[in-house]
Amino acid sequence: MIRSSRGYIELPLVFIGTFLLLSLWAFIKPPFQAPDEFVHHVKTASTGVAASSNQMCVPVRQADLNPLVDISFLHAIPFHAENSLLPLQLRILKSLSWPSENSESTLPIITSWLTSAYSYPYPFYLTLNYLSAKARAATVLTPYQAHYVDRLIVSLLSALAWTLFYALLRSTALTYYRLPIYIFLIFNPVLLFVSSSINPDALFIPLANCVLLLSYKTILNYRYALFLALGLVASLLLKSPAFLLLPIVISCPAILALIDKKDRRQCLHSFCASVLGCLLAAITSYLLFYRDNVIAIAAPTPGRNEDLATYLLSLWERKLVFFSGYWSLLGWTDYSMPYWLTCSMLVVLVITTIAFLRTHAHREGSIYIVFFLAFFAHVSLLIGLEYHFLAQKGYIIQGRYFLPLGLCLSLIMVLGPEYRFWRRLSLGLIVFLSAFMFNATVIRYHEGSYRRAYRTLPFVNFKKVSDKTLNNPELHTDILHCKGNSPE
């Protein structure tokens, strides 16, 4: 097979470009300001013990825990858009050093932080723990610098996973549209915000999109079922919510078999192959992890007792939260795009969806309708789950939960428009949104000052604060002293 020289440099360029983009977003936000980053860090620090003990909750060695976790003002920033990172606070963060005494002492698990993240599988946390320890052993890093090194490691892994996705995209019939599809996915500000922080989503989102592509390839050729199973195992060993992918992967070829009378035989083959792939993935992940571990679902909001009609009405009321949450709800769901930008994105999405359905929905149309079905199935599953757990967990759906199915929306927005001009306009809008939200992040955390944002970079010099300031009890939470927490 002859491949142009451009083909060989394309993947390295995609990798470098993605890594640079993620690094930019990794540096712009202060420590622990991405969703659940505190919890994921503690889980990473405790993983060395947890992996060998088959327990959900294990103690953390104080020496493994970054002391930034204990700083009270960092806990006051999430959910409070009015609280930015002040210059003195930055100096305090940069002045902190690793604990020298009691380094071998262990801390009981912080029960108030027990979220579903504690029940996620180990591979992501073990990898990060290992690479982070290597980086700390190789160079002298302050806790502040070590936190950003952790974020860079995650960004690197995420960039690798996205490059794999791009390579897969190149091997399908979608190759002609690969760049616009990729741009639509990767320039999503929420995706960039989350993927450049300590969070398994950084790997899970690209892998889930790879699974979608592999499912599409399995529909065309059932021999890809083995690769589909591998992709599913990888996803299931990153996050337990990956189980939602199984019914999606099975239902798409099934629905296609029902609506496509012409190639029903092939559809049935691919349906059987998908079922086998899912079974293989489920059994493998069960034997490797889930047999000995508990799956927990977080309860971010109080439970609600609502009948179906009230619940459906609440979905309608929350429509814009989902919509802006998918594109631009940054921080700990505390900062999002303005309404005029929400309107623009909504108009583009509606127009492209109508155009997409007009082109691809009829019987002789293309197989790409399967991506629309997959997204529809994902939304239905999330709604069903939320309603099922409503009394215990309350409203749990966030806009970013649709990111693993981002490929479907990207395809709709790229394949929908009939005119190149319209497609370019949509692409321009998503790149503009990304730049706009980057600036909004500087406003959110650094009061709009790029000079202040520059000073937060881990290698920029600073004036050290006194030990008296660092030892001020008000500066510290009771996390490391474990007041009010019972050891598990």
């Binding site: 858009a81 009015e82 609280n83 002040l86 210059p87 003195l88 429509k319 814009l320 802006s324 900062y335 999002s336 795009m337 303005p338 309404y339 929400t342 309107c343 909504l346 108009v347 509606v350 127009i351 109508i354 155009a355 706009f436 600036n439 909004a440 406003i443 959110r444 009061e447 709009g448």
Partner: protein
């Protein structure tokens, strides 16, 4: 056809509610930051009778309707106000609350308009600080 789609899409616009302004009041949150900057920017701070004469490097000053040019050398009585040159999204105003032989006490108001937030967030921080008089 494109026009029809545009019209259909525009029908969705009324679904979007108008932005609400949310004001958050804070106390002394920016006190230290402002005190450090103000100290660095004030060249002269001396007592002249019952007034205070302030000379700044240019960032802080006074501009009144009757005397519009930005003044960086001015005298203020008790209760007099000066400000920081307003920036795009934030402002600072100061009111002289007390004058003693050693220092003056100031009340400050710091405002920051987030604008890009979905609910047009406005943060107002009020507090007090002491500025020592020049020798």
């Amino acid at each position: 056809m494109l026009l029809l789609r545009l019209i259909f899409a525009c029908l969705l616009l009324p679904l979007i509610a108008a932005a609400e302004t949310r004001t958050v009041q804070q106390t002394n949150r920016h006190q230290l930051e402002i005190a450090v900057e103000l100290k660095a920017q004030i060249k002269t701070l001396i007592k002249e009778g019952d007034k205070v004469r302030i000379v700044t490097n240019g960032k802080y000053g006074l501009s009144t309707r009757s005397n519009p040019p930005w003044r960086t050398d001015f005298s203020l009585p008790l209760g007099g106000m000066f400000e920081k040159k307003p920036e795009a999204q934030k402002w600072q105003t100061f009111r002289i609350k007390g004058i003693s032989e050693q220092s003056i006490s100031l009340e400050y108001e710091y405002g920051f308009n987030h604008r890009s937030a979905d609910n047009d967030l406005l943060v107002i921080d009020k507090g007090q600080l002491e500025m020592p008089l020049s020798n």
